[in-house]
Amino acid sequence: MARAINPLEAAVEPAKKELVIFFIIDRSGSMSGTKIGAVNTAMREVLPVLRGIGGSDATIKIAILGFSTEAYWISPPASVDEFIWEDITAVGWTDFGAALNMLCEKMSRKEFLNSGTGYAAPVCILMSDGQPTDSWIAPLELLRQNNWFKLATKIAIAIGNDTDKKVLTEFTSNPQAVLVSHTPEDLKKLIKIVTLTSSQIGSKNTAINVGNVFTDRNSAAQQFAVSAITTSMQSDPDLAASLYDDEIDDDF
C-alpha cells in the first residue's frame, strides 16, 4: 500500500532571519517615579504591536539590558510573540560602562546571536536620564570594534535636560540619533515611535531605484530610521518642539 502525500501538510513555519532589538535601559535611582513609570507603560504597550511586523521577512526578538549599580540582562533575546513585559524598578548608580561591556559580550555569534537562519542588522535603543557613574570610554571603544554593533541601527532617547547628551551621541555616533524627551508623555511617544519605526525598517529592506541609481533603506538604516522618526515627530507639536528647542523645561 502506498501512502499518498500532500506536500503542504509537511510545511512548517519557514526559516527567516532574526531581527533583535536591544533595549538598554537606565534604571538608576534618578529614573524612579514618573520616568521609569513612563518607560514601563510604553514598553508594555508597544511590544504587542510589534507582533506581525516581521511579516514573511524576519522574526523579531527583544532583549532587555538594564543598568544601575552594575548591569544585568532582564531578558535575553525572546520572540516578541510571547514577550510579556514585567515592570522594572529604578534604584542605584548609573553604571553605563558595565552595560556596554555586557552588550559587547553578548553581541556575538557564540552568545545571543547564534541562530543559524541569519540575522538582520540589530537595533540598539538606549534610554538614559543621567551621567555615567563608572568608566565608560574604554568599554565603548571596545564595543565599537564589535561588528554587530558597527552594523546596528543605534538610537538614544535622552530623558530630560540633565542627560549627558554627549555620552549618548558617542553611543549612536550620530547627534541626530539622540532624541530628547521632556515629559512622561513625550517619553512614551518617543519610545513607541522609535521602536516601531526601527523594527519596521530593520526587518524589511526596500529598494527604490530611479534612473539606475540604487538606494535602499538598509544600507543607511540608521539614517533612514532617524529621518523617519523625525518626520513622525514633526507631526506632534510637543515632540516637534523638542526637536528644535534645547531649552524646554522638563516636567518629570
Binding site: P14, G52, Q200, N209
Partner: protein
C-alpha cells in the same frame, strides 16, 4: 503636518491589505473628514493597518464603505527627494481613470485632494473571507492562529489564480512594481485571489521599487537600461509561486546562512550580483541547509518533475537570461497538470498521485481509506485521473489558458461504487467508442461510463483514451 496626532494608547488593529500592522503614531482621528479630488468628503471610521508605504483606514464616502490608503509622510518625502512624486501621483490618477483590468484587482477608485500636505486613494475593502498571503506563508497569523488551505486543490487553484492575475495585468499593459507577498489576499477555501496595492501597477515604469528577495536580479543590481517589465515580473511571479508551493525563499540557502548578518550589501549580493537557486542542477553552492531550511528539503522532492523543472528553468537559466523565465501561459500549463494529479478522498483530504506506484492501493494519509490506483484520460498534453471530483477543463480539450470552464467531471455511480463515469458538463455532445467497437453519443448533462480502452471525442478531432 500629516493628520492630527492621536494621543491614544495602543489598540489591536487587524491585519489588512497585506500591510503589516503597527499602530501608527500619527493617524487621523475617527471622524476626520478628507476632501476627495473629484469633490465630496470621506470620513475616517477606523485604522485597519499600517505598513511601509502607508496607513490603511476604513472610511465612509457617500454612504458606502471604502478602504483609504494614506501615504506616510516619509514615503512621500522619499519620492519627492528622488523627483518622482508628481509622476507617482499621476500614475495613480491614470489607473483610476482606466479602471481595473478585472474584478480580481482591488483597484484605486478615487484620489483624495491634497490634505495637510499628504494624499491617498480609495479602494474596496478586503472581504472577510480572504487571508493575507503572508499569513499562509507563515502558517499562522500574527495572533498565532493557524492559517492553511482547506485542501490541496485550493492551494493549486490559488497558484493558477495568481498567474491569471499577472496575465490579465500584463495584457492590459501594466507591470507591477514592488511585488511581494503582501500584495495578495487569498480565499483559503477555494483558492480565489485578489490583488491589492495597485497604486504600484503602472504602464510607464518610471522607477523600480521592491524587496530584493522578490526583485529580478537585474533590477537589484540596477543594470543600465533595465526597467520593470513583464520579464522582471516573471521572476517575481516565480518567487511568489515558489513561496506558495515550497514555502521558502528560492535563493535562501548556504550562502545566506554563511552571511550571518544580512546587511543591505549582502542582500544585494545574494539577490543581485551572485544569485544562485538553491536547487540549481549545475551549481550546488547554495543548497538548503539541513536542520535550518526544513521546507525546501522536505517539500521539494514531493513535487513532480515538471514542477521542479519549471522552477529550475526560471531560477537557473532565467536568472541570467530573463527570456528563459516561464511566461504565464507556461505556468498555467504546468499548474493545470499539477491540479490533474490531485485526488480528493471522501474525507476531504487532497493528495498527489505523482510518485505513487500504480500497482499498489493508495492510502489516504488522513482517514486511512484505501483506493485503487485510478485509470486516466489521456489527451495530447494532459493526463487526468479518473477519480471522483476530478475535472476536464476547456484548456485540456482545446489548449489555451481557460482552466476555469469545466467541460466534464468524474462521478461515482450511486448504485455501484466501483463504477465511475464522466459527466458531460459542456455544451456539445461527446462521441464515445468502446473497446468492443460500440459507439455512443453522450449529450450534455449525460454520463459516459468509464471503461479501460475507450475513446472519447470531446470535440471534432480531439480524441482522448482511457488508459491505466
Amino acid at each position: 503636518m500629516i493628520g492630527n496626532f492621536k494621543n491614544t494608547d495602543i489598540t489591536a488593529a487587524n491585519v489588512f491589505h497585506g500591510i503589516r500592522v503597527v499602530l501608527s503614531m500619527i493617524e487621523f482621528d475617527i471622524g476626520t473628514r478628507i476632501p476627495l479630488e473629484s469633490g465630496g468628503e470621506l470620513e475616517i471610521l477606523r485604522t485597519v493597518g499600517d505598513g511601509g508605504q502607508g496607513t490603511v483606514y476604513k472610511t465612509a464616502y457617500s454612504s458606502r464603505e471604502y478602504a483609504l490608503k494614506w501615504y506616510k509622510p516619509e514615503y512621500l518625502k522619499d519620492l519627492e527627494d528622488k523627483g518622482i512624486l508628481r509622476k507617482f501621483r499621476d500614475n495613480i490618477s491614470e489607473n483610476v481613470k482606466n479602471g481595473p483590468p478585472s474584478d480580481k484587482f482591488i483597484w484605486p477608485l478615487m484620489l483624495t485632494a491634497d490634505h495637510e500636505g499628504g494624499f491617498g486613494y480609495l479602494m474596496a475593502l478586503k472581504p472577510d473571507n480572504y487571508q493575507d498571503f503572508t499569513d499562509i506563508f507563515n502558517t499562522h497569523d500574527k495572533y498565532g492562529k493557524k492559517v492553511e488551505f482547506r485542501d490541496l486543490k485550493a492551494a493549486v487553484n490559488s497558484a493558477l489564480n495568481i498567474v491569471e492575475a499577472f496575465k490579465v495585468l500584463h495584457r492590459s499593459g501594466y507591470t507591477y512594481l514592488d511585488l511581494n507577498d503582501g500584495n495578495f489576499f487569498i480565499n483559503t477555501q477555494n483558492g480565489d485571489v485578489l490583488v491589492c496595492d495597485n497604486d504600484n501597477a503602472t504602464s510607464q515604469p518610471i522607477f523600480n521599487i521592491g524587496k530584493p528577495g522578490y526583485m529580478a536580479p537585474e533590477l537589484v543590481r540596477c543594470d543600465k537600461g533595465v526597467n520593470s517589465s513583464a520579464l522582471t515580473d516573471y521572476h517575481s511571479l516565480a518567487v511568489v509561486l515558489f513561496k506558495l508551493l515550497i514555502r521558502h525563499d528560492p535563493l535562501m540557502g548556504k550562502n545566506y546562512v554563511k552571511s550571518v548578518c544580512i546587511s543591505a550589501e549582502k542582500e544585494r549580493e545574494l539577490y543581485g550580483v551572485n544569485p544562485v537557486f538553491i536547487f540549481d542542477p549545475h551549481d550546488d553552492s547554495n543548497r538548503p541547509v539541513f536542520n535550518i531550511h526544513a521546507n525546501p528539503i522536505n517539500l521539494w522532492p514531493l513535487y513532480p518533475m515538471y514542477i521542479q523543472s519549471a522552477f529550475v528553468r526560471s531560477f537557473s537559466e532565467g536568472m541570467k537570461q530573463p527570456g528563459k523565465r516561464l511566461t504565464e501561459y507556461e505556468w498555467t500549463k504546468v499548474l493545470v497538470k499539477l491540479r490533474d494529479e490531485i485526488i480528493t478522498c471522501a474525507c476531504g483530504a487532497g493528495m498527489f498521485l505523482s510518485g505513487l506506484d500504480p500497482h499498489e492501493l493508495i492510502e489516504c494519509p488522513h482517514c486511512g481509506h484505501t483506493y485503487d490506483y485510478p485509470k486516466h484520460i489521456e489527451l495530447e498534453d494532459f493526463r487526468i485521473s479518473i477519480f471522483p471530483g476530478n475535472e476536464i477543463l476547456n484548456c485540456h480539450i482545446h489548449g489555451g489558458e481557460d482552466y476555469k470552464t469545466v467541460a466534464g467531471k468524474v462521478v461515482r455511480s450511486r448504485k455501484d461504487h466501483a463504477r465511475l463515469g464522466i459527466k458531460n458538463w459542456s455544451a456539445r455532445s461527446w462521441r464515445i467508442k468502446y473497446p468492443d467497437g460500440e459507439v455512443e453519443v453522450v449529450a450534455p448533462g449525460k454520463i459516459a461510463v468509464s471503461q479501460l480502452g475507450m475513446e472519447i471525442e470531446f470535440a471534432p478531432g480531439v480524441i482522448a483514451q482511457v488508459i491505466e
